[in-house]
Amino acid sequence: MKAVGLRILFYLAVVLLALIVLLPFLWMLISSLKTQIDIVAWPPKFIFSPTLQNYYKVFGEQDFIRYFINSTIVAVFAVGVSLLLGLPAAYSIARFSQRRLAMVILLARLMPGISFLMPWYIIFSRLGLMDSYVALVLSHVLITLPIVVWIMSSYFETIPLELEESAMVDGASRHYIFLKIILPLSGPGIITATTLSFIFSWNNFLFSQVLSMEKTRTLPIAVFNFLSYADIDWGGVMAASVAIMAPALVLTMIFQRYVVSGLTMGAVKG
């Protein structure tokens, strides 16, 4: 009897935790299908006639597709640059025990992003790079590069050293070993790093808000468009949020397996 009781308690706890996490998402999804009046109604309405009006607004009235393309360009290049710089960096950190270097990179991540904004604003505006993809990509690299370096350096550490030594004896140079032995074996780690840094770049609000204007505006800023001084178009905000989340969610679902194992990787090795 006691075991059954515990079991019920366990499932209750699981449901409770899941609700805490999922409720806001659910709320967002439901609200995106409601009219403004239904959204602000009190007590909250659970039975209502759903409408796609908010989505029309997002994709019709706003230039959502452009923002979507902007976000994609920035995220893809930020991730690309991070992989290009981060993979070799992570490899040397892992193989030559450059833990201190890794700390420096982490430090950049620990500092509040806003402290970078002012200098960037000045630098990019002097260089005439405001509202350019270059400025946005570079600012996003600050977020994505440390993710790549941290995930990949602990991943590289799990690859047995003997493989490299064997390749060395076989006649391979370090560059060759990195490209032909290490990288092909790092698929799961690279997928994890790519997915996570893509999501972080995709969702970034702060840097894009300050450094982008009309031309390079990204999706999270577009949500902001529904907020005006007079009133807030909650339906539009919710629908836009759903539309923004969708790609990140799909990406995560596809690579979920790798992401989860990638996240625990560093933890086990200590």
Partner: protein, 351 residues
């Protein structure tokens, strides 16, 4: 193929010295085994030959060339690692072809060499498999195939059999030896297993705490160990030691038992001595034997191991005869007087 000279080689990690001046000369085509307990520096020495560890002092020569500062890829060596270190994302054939591909050998030649090596090692049917699809013994063979494909100057083996089960280990031992007899490539092989060393080597190098204790042919080491360490390390079960001194051509143990010794040096009379006798050199002798109290009897079928108290010490004897004694009973044994070993107690050196 080439000879290999190790001249006064030293290794230190910062202030910690791990190899203190090792000299080994290896002839072209010789099969040399470095053997010793864990931490004796044998693997470090092998890695220095491979170029995976830097050389703190001394000189390593492959053929006429000093290789101290030559990177591993240019030393023309092949190495088999303890955990095989097969490239998991390549097939068996690709694994074996890797080094030749790096040397930009023409494709038909690579294919020819890979299929020859696969033939020798019985891997022909497995060439398209990936390492994860192979058993431990097959992986071991692929690792060797990778080494032999490219006819290097020297083969290096780093405890290649220690991840295999006992039966496979014995089988692979024979195969490696056959392979060497066939290819005649200079080989340096590291193991902590003295049976592997005894059965496979042309020459054994016994190492201990970063120094070479003795170099010699297997039976030379067995019959005439240079010091107490080698005497105790080579042979299984290991040699029995009794403390005492020499007196008038006989060994007298601390417990007062006198044992006959052939050719005892008269000059050593009275000095503290350690007397060594191998387990199989005890003779069962009901008339002239000295009594020993049996503690454990272990029959293996072909022989019988008897653990007993003899001349005040715990000893083990191995007999071809069946011994029916029960624990606590007395048997009468005598060490073969021609086969005892004498060591100086202070220096541990053979007398």
């Amino acid at each position: 193929m080439a000879s290999l000279q190790i001249v006064d080689v030293r290794k230190a990690y910062g202030p910690t010295r791990v190899i203190h001046g090792v000299d080994i000369a290896i002839d072209d085509g010789e099969f040399v085994i470095l053997v010793g307990p864990s931490g004796c520096g044998k693997s470090t020495l092998l890695r220095m030959i491979a170029g995976l560890e830097s050389i703190t002092g001394g000189e390593i020569r492959i053929g006429p060339r000093v290789v101290n500062d030559v990177p591993p890829k240019d030393r023309d060596i092949a190495m088999v690692f303890q955990n095989y270190a097969l490239y998991p994302h390549m097939t068996v054939a690709e694994n074996m072809a890797f080094s030749m591909k790096l040397r930009k050998a023409p494709k038909p030649e690579i294919e020819k060499r890979v299929s020859e090596a696969a033939e020798i090692l019985g891997l022909t049917k497995l060439l398209d498999r990936y390492p994860r699809q192979l058993s431990g013994g097959q992986r071991q063979r692929v690792a060797m195939g990778r080494a032999i494909v490219r006819d290097p100057q020297v083969f290096l083996f780093d405890e290649p059999l220690s991840n295999l089960d006992a039966k496979l280990r014995v089988q692979m031992r024979t195969e490696i030896k056959q392979l060497h007899q066939r290819l005649k490539t200079t080989t340096v092989y590291v193991t902590h297993d003295q049976i592997e060393a005894m059965t496979m080597a042309d020459k054994i190098v016994v190492m201990h705490d970063g120094v070479v204790e003795q170099i010699g042919a297997p039976l030379e080491l067995y019959d005439r160990p240079a010091n107490l360490f080698v005497a105790g390390f080579i042979g299984s079960p290991s040699m029995n030691f009794l403390k005492g001194h020499l007196q008038g051509g006989r060994f007298v143990s601390d417990s007062g038992i006198a044992l006959p010794v052939a050719n005892a040096p008269a000059a050593s009379d009275g000095k503290p001595i350690i007397y060594g006798i191998r387990p199989e050199h005890f003779i069962l002798d009901d008339t002239n034997g000295l009594s020993a109290e049996v503690s454990v009897v272990e029959p293996t079928g072909s022989e019988t191991q008897v653990f007993a108290k003899f001349a005040g010490s715990d000893v083990v004897g191995v007999f071809r005869e069946r011994v029916n004694a029960k624990p606590g009973q007395q048997i009468r044994v005598i060490p073969d007087p021609n086969l005892g070993h004498l060591f100086d107690e202070q220096t541990g050196k053979r007398i």
